[in-house]
Symmetry: C2
Subunit: 567 residues, 2 copies
């Protein structure tokens, strides 16, 4: 194999180096890293900023507390790590990497037999103009975290503006509010949080559950500019004319692959800007591999290039790249974008496409939304799980799933991801066998249920109406809950109340062409009612997906949105 | 369809009735149930006995708190439920069911066009002789729970013996100890708890973590007899001569399908005693379906008949039976036995075959055991996850997975079950994409890791040694942890200590035919060391799976077992 040179000493690069060193004898492996450290777990920036971790070096230690530094890589792995060294140019003809020692400025050339590009990602520059300021940063580099943390520890910060309501922005907002007690304004351009990952039904449900008075969600809002305020703070000006004072501004406006070096060497990049690789992590140029967050992967749902930086994927890509260099069987076919996070007491997860994205992509999309208890019915303190399933109408191929609840829901997403990656259909959801866990009730057949709902809708015509669509419904709502439920928690003044137990006696009371949505607490009785009326010859009946529980959340957030839009 | 008669009004029977009633018009659906109630969630017996639920009727209520009684089924579902009615005989020729009203003793015949048998399961009678006593019961019927709860509320019970260390026995033991503060002796015939579900490595790990002084685990022990004690208690006599005083004895010695009625009608039953059905829940007799815990399903790993009563399966079978009666597309192909439970602060889950069972079944079996942190390395309070993967050696087909940890691990089992049901190989584990969750570290690629370990073992010869096998290892142990780790937590007096950072300098210090097991804290360094020595030409090196963490648990439990066996 001769010389193997790896550019980038974070997750992917270190994985390539470690795997190669395990499989090889009498080799030379060199890792080039710009930073003064290697193998930092960047997920740890959040707990560091939040004050849960005090020592930055903890982010570079093994589980048995040994620092993964140059010495460690040398003695344990026989890998030569050059930190504070920049890769300047890839000479693919001569197979040499031009490097520069950052401290001395000295340039040198490293010959390679195999080269791995693991240059990672960098923050996207926001659209508005952004001056250099000690009070503004991205939330990406260790230096960002250190800069902020120093200020916050000196009590210099009582109000922060976070721009961007993606995973990073949301997680940061929660940490600052919860752990430092700081007032936070979180500004998102789109009309809901996590807009790339969630449709409105699920995002609204999460938004409506955020009760902290210290967090101000400012949605559907763009930044005009950020000015210095006279008192040494910043003034964040929105395009609608509002402005917000802040002691610090974090720009969490997304990341993009770092590919200057690759593009300089005419290595092909894709629609997302990431380096194009095959299933074995080979780039378009011979002897050059790529791995990690500089890579564009295939989205296994759309079949198109996609960009989904994640630590697990970086590590898996690193392994495949190393195996591939050695000619071993190993491959990575792509991603279905599964994610999971906890935010404001809600567990949120998803995979595949949102309905919004699938429609933009030009697919003919169907969807159902539902609500379940996360414990057996006899546990009166069970909490709701909200889910939205997205599928392609002809053929019923699965496209995506989004969920929120108060327990960890990763089990559903992990299994669903496997189905997505195999291009399975809604019918397959009926066949999956989830683990049976005593006391869990309906949640143990939740995926089967979601499949049933979609089948009921597509094959039997029992239509599931999203609460977002129900907001603008002009027909008749029939509330089939028990009288005491209707009194305790009314749905709407204009709806008709008929409890399930009486419904059968009222089958002839309506016009069979009347548009009716049946509503209940969480959706199951509404479904049953709609089915009963359909069987009786009604043509235009449907039920409210997720019931009043989800509808209420959507109504509240919709109201806020309209208020904001109308000034 | 005409008349549809369903025997049994619990999970499966009620599901059949409800699904049919939703799909049909102008039908007659009759449910026959022996008990004075229907649609009881039997999972709720445990929280009822434990005192978490006070009102038994909570087990028969919908999530919106409506009692699922005869009236409910009549008005909401148009289903006629006959409680306190016994099905005595199926006349398959005349298509009639002979019934008996239990109160009056009156017999009557119900003609059917379609018949569904959903007679559920019943406790297995223990092998030892068991007299009728108000102080002995199974833990199966509502009456068992009521009988015990009445006594315990009157303070009449301070010591309970539970016979059988399966899920039911273990869960009950925990509830009595934790919630009532009762002293419990849990007696299991096999040498570990949950012997049908777990191999020793995982079971021992769980056993060793049980710290309650109120729970006495008595393993490898059988009951001789149960005698009355003079003071009104019971005396539970073991075959080894020991005896234990108890105020109450629960027999949790397993369940079996209730099939007297089916067998009386010459409906075919299988190796497990359950009713044989096809994928559409049709029995061997025309016009007769079966669903729920009276049914034998196909084990999708072995391809043989299997018996795995579970609520989710009962409900899914109920749906399929109803669809099948109506000629709709719907099927259930079998089970891979996925389970999940929480016991003594440990989450335990598994699916497929244990190694013990797979060997008995005659398969050529390989396995790996491993240990991971359930949080990122920078969280110093992360807890271990223990896992054992079982596969078939030629072809590397997946056979089973068992896990234990302090967080819910269902995500792994749900996904693994899907792979099992599709007869996937170890290589597929490398392809699965688990959700990426910030702060979760290695646990987000745990299944990929397990696959890697098995591949490393089978294709590269890096052997993973189970701590159970390592107990009897006579070769050299090399402990590759750091000196301070070895001092804090020594492995064994006779082992050689060489930290990873020095190992490369010691590659020539041993005989290349020497048998060596490399040990470390959780297994990863041991693997790396073994790989290094293999690359250097050593032939008989391996590493300790799960590291010292798991080994210690196995050692403790093994010591207890030997002590017990040797008296």
């Amino acid at each position: 194999m001769g010389n193997i040179v790896i550019i980038g000493g974070m997750a992917a690069g270190c994985k390539v180096a470690s795997r190669l060193s395990r499989l090889l004898r009498g080799h030379k492996i060199i890792v080039i890293e710009k930073m003064p450290f290697v193998s930092m777990n960047s997920c740890g920036l959040l707990p560091f900023v939040a004050g849960e971790i005090d020592d930055v070096s903890d982010l570079m230690r093994t589980s048995y507390n040994v620092l993964r530094d140059e010495k460690y890589f040398d003695s344990v792995r026989n890998v030569n790590v050059l930190t504070k060294t920049e890769a300047c140019e890839i000479d693919t003809r001569k197979r040499e990497l031009v490097c520069r020692a950052i401290d001395s400025g000295d340039k040198f050339r490293l010959p390679y037999d195999s080269l791995v590009i693991a240059t990672g990602f960098q923050p996207v520059k926001p659209e508005f103009s952004l001056r250099d300021s000690t009070l503004i940063s991205s939330f990406h580099y260790l230096s960002d975290a250190q800069k902020f943390r120093e200020k916050v520890q000196h009590g210099a910060i009582s109000k922060v503006v976070i721009i961007g309501g993606g995973i990073k922005g949301c997680s940061l907002a929660e940490a600052l509010v919860t752990l430092w007690g700081i007032d936070v304004a979180l500004i998102e351009r789109e009309e809901n949080l996590l807009p790339v990952l969630l449709d409105r039904e699920i995002a609204y449900y999460i938004q409506s559950s955020i009760k902290s008075g210290k967090l101000d969600l400012i949605l559907s809002s763009s930044i005009e500019k950020i000015e210095d305020d006279k008192r040494g703070s910043l003034n964040v000006c929105l395009q609608n004319g509002e402005s917000i004072l802040a002691d610090y501004v974090f720009c969490c406006t997304g990341v993009k692959p770092s590919t200057d070096l690759a593009r300089g060497a005419n290595i092909q990049t894709g629609v997302t800007g990431g380096i194009i690789v095959d299933e074995k992590m080979r780039t378009s140029v011979e002897h050059v591999w790529a791995a990690g967050s500089c890579v564009e992967l295939t989205n296994m749902v759309t079949g198109q290039g996609d960009y989904f930086p994640s630590n697990p994927l970086s590590i898996r890509m690193g392994r495949v790249a190393a195996d591939s260099i050695l000619g071993r069987e190993s491959s990575l076919k792509g991603t279905v974008r599964p994610f999971s996070l906890k935010l404001f007491d809600k567990f949120i997860c998803g995979a595949g496409l949102t309905e919004r994205y699938a429609r933009k992509f030009g697919l003919n999309v169907g969807s159902v939304v539902g609500c379940w208890s996360d414990g057996a019915d006899y546990y009166r303190d069970s909490k709701p799980i909200i889910a939205k399933l997205v599928y392609e109408k002809p053929g019923l191929r699965l496209l995506g799933l989004q969920m929120a609840g108060e327990k960890d829901l990763t089990r559903y997403i992990d299994l669903f991801s496997e189905l997505l990656s195999r291009r399975r259909t809604v019918e397959c959801l009926l066949q999956v066998e989830l683990a049976s866990s005593p006391g869990c009730g309906a949640s143990d057949i939740l995926l089967n249920h979601l499949g049933t709902m979609a089948i009921n809708q597509e094959l039997d015509g029992v239509k599931n109406v999203s609460p977002v669509d129900a907001m603008s419904f002009k027909g008749t709502f029939i509330d089939v809950r028990e009288p005491h439920e209707r009194t305790d928690h009314p749905f709407s003044n204009s709806c008709i109340g008929i409890p399930m137990s009486d419904l059968r006696t009222r089958l002839n009371d309506f016009n069979s062409n009347q548009e009716i949505i049946f509503v209940c607490g969480m959706g199951s009785r509404g479904y049953e009612a709609a089915r009963m009326f359909l069987n009786h010859g009604y043509k235009r009946v449907s039920y409210l997906g997720g019931g009043i529980l989800l509808y209420d959340a959507v109504r509240v957030e919709n109201f806020k949105r309209l208020n904001r839009t109308n000034g």
